[in-house]
């Protein structure tokens, strides 16, 4: 019995590992994408955003604020320009992303209580860059506002503690939980690797089933009749034994190599990933059977990958998405896998909390995927008896 299954799986492995088209995508794909994505987000935060300063005041106060900006990790002073008009050309050439303007008489007006204004022009094209720049600059300005108020209150005769209370009576004490350093890679990398594993598994399985046929099975096993169940199971099993270690290692890379924190249960994620990978193999066969061409199937998955990732709610939060998108996401194994990985690894949610919410739906979707895969393999084996591809 074991020997028979080994022979069936061995045949599938041989096919996969000797075909450059399948092995490249199925085995090489997850590592390729994991290293690329890991490399892109290695730094984790958009630090040292270049900004320019227009200092029309040349006062001690404007120089102090400029020094504070230069000392901030978020920004770096790319230079000083004479007027805000000069910023336009610098923005178009990606040499500066923000411009801080100190108007003439800024210090004098501030001391006279005339409420002068610091100008800030942002190249608002990139939300990620400018979000952090804006937050950084607001924090610096707010600190100075509080400082000025505190000095005034002290001058009026209030003690130091009372002066601070008077200058900032109600302050938020913000705590960024689960990702305290706002590291972009911790947040996004695991999701990107899950979508990469999904795409390469589906593409690889689509090509693999397209190139196989009943005739080839008969030729490989002339002495015994191999049932379609055996074909299906051996295909899924053999592919899973390749995808699971490769995808599993790729999924571990954010934690092992790229420094993402891991607070959850390894066994739970391993179980979820096994169900996820098995579902993707079956779905890969399903799509191949619908497309009836490995080229069309591969192209379809490539067109779909960005949309599927976006709809899965990993970047654009699903709880802030329209109701129908949440339902759509719920029907995707990727959504549940991403939620399990993120909530387990970053939030530290115990398996008992995720079982009913994400693991059971993942298992249910896996059963549907399994049925679809079985239907697809049966159909492909009947309708493509010679194999070898229809392209």
């Amino acid at each position: 019995m074991f020997n028979t299954w080994f022979q069936l799986c061995w045949r599938e492995w041989k096919r996969i590992l000797t075909d450059r088209r399948i092995v490249m995508i199925l085995v090489g794909g997850p590592f390729f994408y994991a290293f690329i994505f890991g490399g892109v987000y290695w730094q984790g935060r958009a630090k040292h955003v270049p900004i320019v300063v227009v200092d029309q005041d040349h006062s001690r106060f404007s120089r102090e604020i400029t020094t504070a900006i230069a000392a901030s990790e978020n920004m770096q002073i790319a230079g000083w320009v004479n007027s805000p008009e000069d910023f336009l050309a610098l923005a178009r050439h990606e040499q500066a992303y923000a411009c801080v303007i100190f108007p003439p008489e800024f210090e004098r007006d501030a001391l006279a209580g005339k409420k002068p204004r610091i100008g800030l022009i942002l190249d608002a094209d990139n939300i990620l860059v400018n979000g952090s720049t804006l937050i950084g600059l607001r924090a610096i300005v707010a600190t100075y506002q509080v400082g000025v108020n505190e000095e005034r209150a002290e001058a009026l005769g209030l003690p130091k503690a009372g002066a601070l209370a008077a200058s900032m009576p109600l302050a938020p004490a913000t705590r960024q939980m689960f990702n305290p350093t706002s590291h972009y890679s911790f947040y996004i990398l695991m999701g990107l690797i899950c979508i990469a594993v999904q795409s390469v598994t589906r593409i690889g399985c689509g090509i693999s089933i397209e190139l196989d046929s009943v005739e080839k099975w008969k030729k490989d096993f002339p002495d015994r009749a191999v049932s379609r169940w055996e074909i299906f199971f051996s295909k899924v099993l053999a592919t899973a034994l390749l995808v699971l270690p490769v995808g599993g290692i790729a999924l571990m890379l954010p934690f092992v190599l790229f420094g993402a924190p891991y607070r959850g249960s390894v066994l739970f994620i391993a179980l979820a990933f096994t169900i996820f990978a098995l579902s993707q193999i079956c779905i890969g066969y399903g799509y191949a059977s619908l497309c009836r061409s490995a080229v069309v199937c591969t192209q379809l998955h490539l067109f779909m990958s960005v949309i599927v990732f976006t709809a899965s709610g990993f970047t654009w939060p699903y709880y802030a998405a329209p109701e129908w998108i949440r339902w759509l996401g719920w029907l995707m194994p990727l959504f549940h896998m991403n939620c399990i990985v993120r909530k387990s690894a970053l939030v530290g949610a115990p398996p008992s909390l995720l079982l009913a919410q994400h693991l059971l739906p993942l298992i249910m979707l896996g059963v549907v995927a399994f049925a679809w895969g079985w239907w697809a393999v049966r159909k492909e084996m009947s309708e493509n008896p010679a194999g070898g591809g229809r392209d």
Partner: protein, 394 residues
């Protein structure tokens, strides 16, 4: 000469029309992609994030703060709790992603002129949502803080509201958003332009991904050399129908978000049309070149996948290139999508022109040469194969 090119183009057009399934995918998928993308980002901002309120003060002030927070469109009430310890569990169950803790004695301390702190716990496991939550929380609490300070000054010093406002805010920051005035976390405006090029690129490549291999595999009724044997005429004729199909598709795809989802786009300029059409030409040529090099369409499609799948993240469109490790800069600047997304951004969003796109023009020119070299070699290979084995094509 033109007649020869048109002959080859007519032959290719005939073959192309027979590939309806492939054409349907390449034409329909990008349009469906853009519509889906627009619908997903249709809220434009992160809205209605469920909030957990831990009110340990039960005072008029804490209730006012709760009302103010829930009046913000970013937040929606997720529930109340006695302690913040429940927050991680609520996050795991998606019942709350922000938690405000009003400590006991909040109102009393404030009235006694003691500094008070409202704790804000943010779920930063989603960076985008966390940033939006942080900004909204700071806005609401900051406004409250200023209001309180004004009242305190008015009460303590007997100054007029205008004077107390000047004292509370000694100077302020006036922010102006250039190029995307509706900034404020509007993701549709920001992402749609760049993401459109993911499919424009894929469509351009996939249009021709079978054009070279089909010749090498003898899938055409007549070999190419019977029509024309000069390389550049054959090349121009083969690419012409695909190029003519790719250009209108890319125009539709790049404008869909603007037409249907009100994404801003400055009035289009000749320089935009120039770079868009140039990019289409490069992609169509590159797809054909890869098809010839690979010799069969599945492998050629995989080569395209390795070129296009990490492309968008590497372009620097979302994650800035200066924040990537230096070693990744080579890939970021070297991939073909970098020039087109930055040129489009500069022209259609920043109101710039080709003069502002020096580095990008060089990048696209380099890819043009690579694509042309591949396509040229591929066509030579096809013509020589056809001359050696004419029988295979019958």
């Amino acid at each position: 000469m033109i007649r020869s090119i048109l002959n080859v183009a007519a032959r290719e057009w005939g073959w192309m029309r027979g590939q309806r399934k492939y054409l349907a995918l390449v034409v329909i998928a990008p349009i469906a992609y853009m519509i889906a993308l627009g619908l997903i980002y249709s809220p434009k901002k992160v809205l209605h994030v469920p909030v957990m309120i831990v009110d340990q003060d039960h005072s008029r002030l804490s209730r006012q703060l709760t009302t103010a927070l829930l009046a913000s469109e970013t937040f929606a009430l997720g529930g109340y709790s006695e302690t913040a310890d429940d927050f991680p569990r609520e996050v795991a169950l998606d019942r709350a992603h922000v938690c405000f803790v009003f400590p006991a004695g909040l109102e009393r301390d404030l009235l006694a002129h003691r500094p008070v702190r409202v704790q804000v716990l943010l779920d930063y496991s989603n960076y985008l949502a966390g940033t939006a939550e942080l900004s909204a929380a700071n806005t609401v609490l900051g406004t409250f803080s200023v209001g309180t300070q004004i009242r305190m000054l008015e009460a303590a010093r007997g100054v007029s509201p205008d004077t107390s406002l000047l004292r509370v805010i000694p100077f302020e920051m006036n922010t102006r958003m250039w190029f995307n005035p509706a900034f404020n976390g509007n993701y549709l405006n920001y992402l749609a332009v760049g993401l459109a090029y993911v499919v424009v690129q894929l469509a351009g490549l996939f249009f021709t991904i079978r054009a070279g291999s089909s010749e090498l595999r003898g899938q055409h009724a007549t070999p190419l050399r019977q029509t024309e044997s000069r390389v550049w005429i054959a090349l121009a004729g083969k690419l012409l129908p695909y190029f003519l199909a790719a250009v209108p598709l890319s125009i539709i795809v790049t404008h869909l978000a603007h037409w249907f989802f009100a994404a801003p786009q400055l009035e289009t300029q000749p320089s935009f049309w120039f770079v868009l059409i140039w990019f289409d030409a490069v992609m169509v040529t590159l797809g054909y070149g890869l098809s010839c090099v690979a010799g069969e369409p599945v492998f050629a499609t995989e080569m395209c996948a390795s070129l296009t799948m990490p492309n968008f993240l590497l372009t620097g469109y979302t994650w800035p290139i200066f924040a990537m490790p230096k070693i990744m800069w080579i890939m970021a600047y070297g991939l073909p999508m970098n020039p087109i997304v930055f040129m489009t951004r500069k022209i259609t969003t920043m109101g710039g022109g080709l003069a502002d796109c020096g580095a990008q023009l060089i990048g696209l020119a380099a890819w043009s040469l690579i694509a042309l070299a591949l396509a040229w070699c591929g066509t030579r290979k096809i013509l020589s194969t056809a001359q050696e084995e004419p029988a295979a094509h019958v």
